[in-house]
């Protein structure tokens, strides 16, 4: 393919808008939401575009209502999405638990901001626990995807819909203000479905079949225990089949950065600088935060001298890193709660770990 043709296909867009383009490409025609910074580009884009392609945009009175609009449309068998930021995602936790219990697919985007509480609108990765461990009640899991570029905002949005349908479960995209607000060119690769979108369980009226229900209440005998084990097997299957990560210069690396999303993006610059100085640095970048690439991490831990975990919080993924490896003495942590680490800072840390002067 010649350069001109390749250039022709690239689109220059905000990350938040690229999510919308990906969702629409994946067949999402329903979006519900409630305003909150820094993700308002998403409802604004959807409110302008969905009505022109026969879709539905509806602004809810709260995120509590939003997630239940989502529940109803998902129960109707349609692909549906919402987006919000920390405080709004907190309000959706009840609905997410019900959806996991009722086995309903949907895509929920968290363009996270600083917390706890009202916090601030600075970029942050403080919602890792809420997303990965799942903040609703009862114990459930969902695939969590962490894009680090506008290209991934687009492609992981499409993947999130497929994972949600494959497992009949909500799927989350965990971004932050940087990857949401930044613009960069991306290629609109066509959507290629990897799952069937037939939903015989959907509530469409019981014409020609017995009535059916979408529910999470199981009161009889040990029905809820049976249901829990069924869900658990689903989560195990996610761990077997859905681990995704980027290996960034790990071959021969002595220092392995472990970072996701914007922290990983910034780390790439620092690693480029370090490698030019002959420092053998690389990075394991989890693309799926759940399932976490724990086995891959343990393999890398055996080979390297240092695992440098970098997060825009005070250490959340750090716990999953520790749970994945026995080499705890190799783990170092660089945390920047509610702020982005600069390439200079990370570069300085890499130099220090490599025994170079600052």
């Amino acid at each position: 393919m010649n350069v001109a043709a390749r250039v022709e296909q690239r689109v220059f867009m905000k990350g938040n808008e690229a999510i919308c383009v990906g969702a629409i490409a994946a067949g999402c025609r329903f979006y519900y939401g409630y305003p909150i910074t820094p993700q308002n580009d998403i409802p604004e884009y959807m409110s302008a575009h969905l009505p022109t392609i026969g879709g539905t945009f509806l602004q809810a009175e709260s995120e509590v209502a939003t997630i239940n609009f989502i529940l109803g449309t998902s129960a109707s068998g349609k692909r549906v999405m919402t987006s919000s930021s920390g405080p709004g995602i907190s309000l959706m936790q009840e609905g997410l638990s019900y959806m996991a219990g009722s086995e309903l697919p949907a895509v929920v985007v968290n363009i996270s901001r600083s917390g706890p509480g009202l916090g601030g609108i600075a970029p942050s990765q403080g919602d890792y626990f809420q997303a990965v461990k799942c903040g609703g009640h009862g114990g459930y899991r969902m695939p969590v995807l962490a894009p680090h570029s506008v290209q991934e905002m687009y492609s992981l949005a499409m993947l999130a819909f497929d994972l949600a349908d494959k497992y009949r479960n909500p799927a989350m995209i965990l971004g932050d203000a940087i990857v949401g607000q930044m613009k960069e060119p991306f290629t609109q690769t066509p959507y290629v479905p990897t799952v069937s979108q037939e939903k015989p369980w959907a509530l469409t009226g019981c014409a020609g079949r017995p009535r059916q229900h979408v529910k999470s209440l199981y009161l009889k005998d040990n029905a809820i225990e049976v249901h829990n084990w069924k869900l658990h097997r689903k989560y195990l299957k996610m761990q077997e089949e859905e681990v995704r990560y980027e290996d960034y210069h790990l071959d021969g690396a002595k220092i392995a950065v472990v970072a996701f999303g914007t922290a990983a993006r910034v780390s790439k610059t620092a690693i480029q600088w370090a490698r030019r100085e002959g420092i053998a640095a690389g990075m394991l970048r989890p693309i799926t935060l759940f399932p976490f690439p724990g086995a891959q991490l343990e393999e890398i831990a055996k080979r390297v001298d240092v695992l440098l975990v970098i997060e825009m919080n005070t250490g959340q993924m750090l716990e999953d890193v520790k749970a994945s490896t026995t080499f705890h003495d190799k783990i170092r942590f660089l945390g920047k709660p509610c702020a982005m680490p600069t390439p200079e800072e990370i570069h300085g840390e890499l130099r220090k770990l490599a025994g170079r002067g600052r």
């Binding site: 690239r10 940087i178 607000q181 613009k183 960069e184 993006r265 600069t342 800072e345």
Partner: protein, 183 residues
Amino acid sequence: MTTDVIMAGFGGQGILMIGNLLSIAAMEEGRHVTYFPAYGVEMRGGTANCTVVLSDEEIGSPVVGRPRACVVMNGPSLDRYLPAIREGGDLVINRSLVDPAKVGRKDLRLLAIPANDIAREVVGSQQLASMVALGAYVQRTGAVRMQTLFDCLPKVISKKYEKFIPLNVNALKEGESFARNHA
């Protein structure tokens, strides 16, 4: 080659527009580029800024702690970004609103351009001051080709205002020629 620039000024000066134009031009030249604007509450302080990173290889951080260049369109932005610019970096200031005496640093390649005056008196519209400054920045740094900027104007100017494209071309050219004459 990798370069980056922070552009800053008042809201309404067209800062985000010149950032977008520079980014799209870089994309059209087949390069990697990221554009990151100020967002949220920062927009309410009456200031606007954006960071553009251009590179021939994959770009890591879209946000830059120590920029290689700054285009400063008003006084408060000079106070904020002057200390951050890398040694030997390029600083383009809008002399119509920013006092060059306040720059102080001798380790920068300074270009003080009366962007408002040129826009108003030569181009014919003071609203194009930022476009004049962009022309000067691009001439000074060679970040992209001038012709690519001209070609990309229709992508950042809405149909409603497309009759102003020639005026924007003039603004870029005036900035370019000022920079060439003050090299």
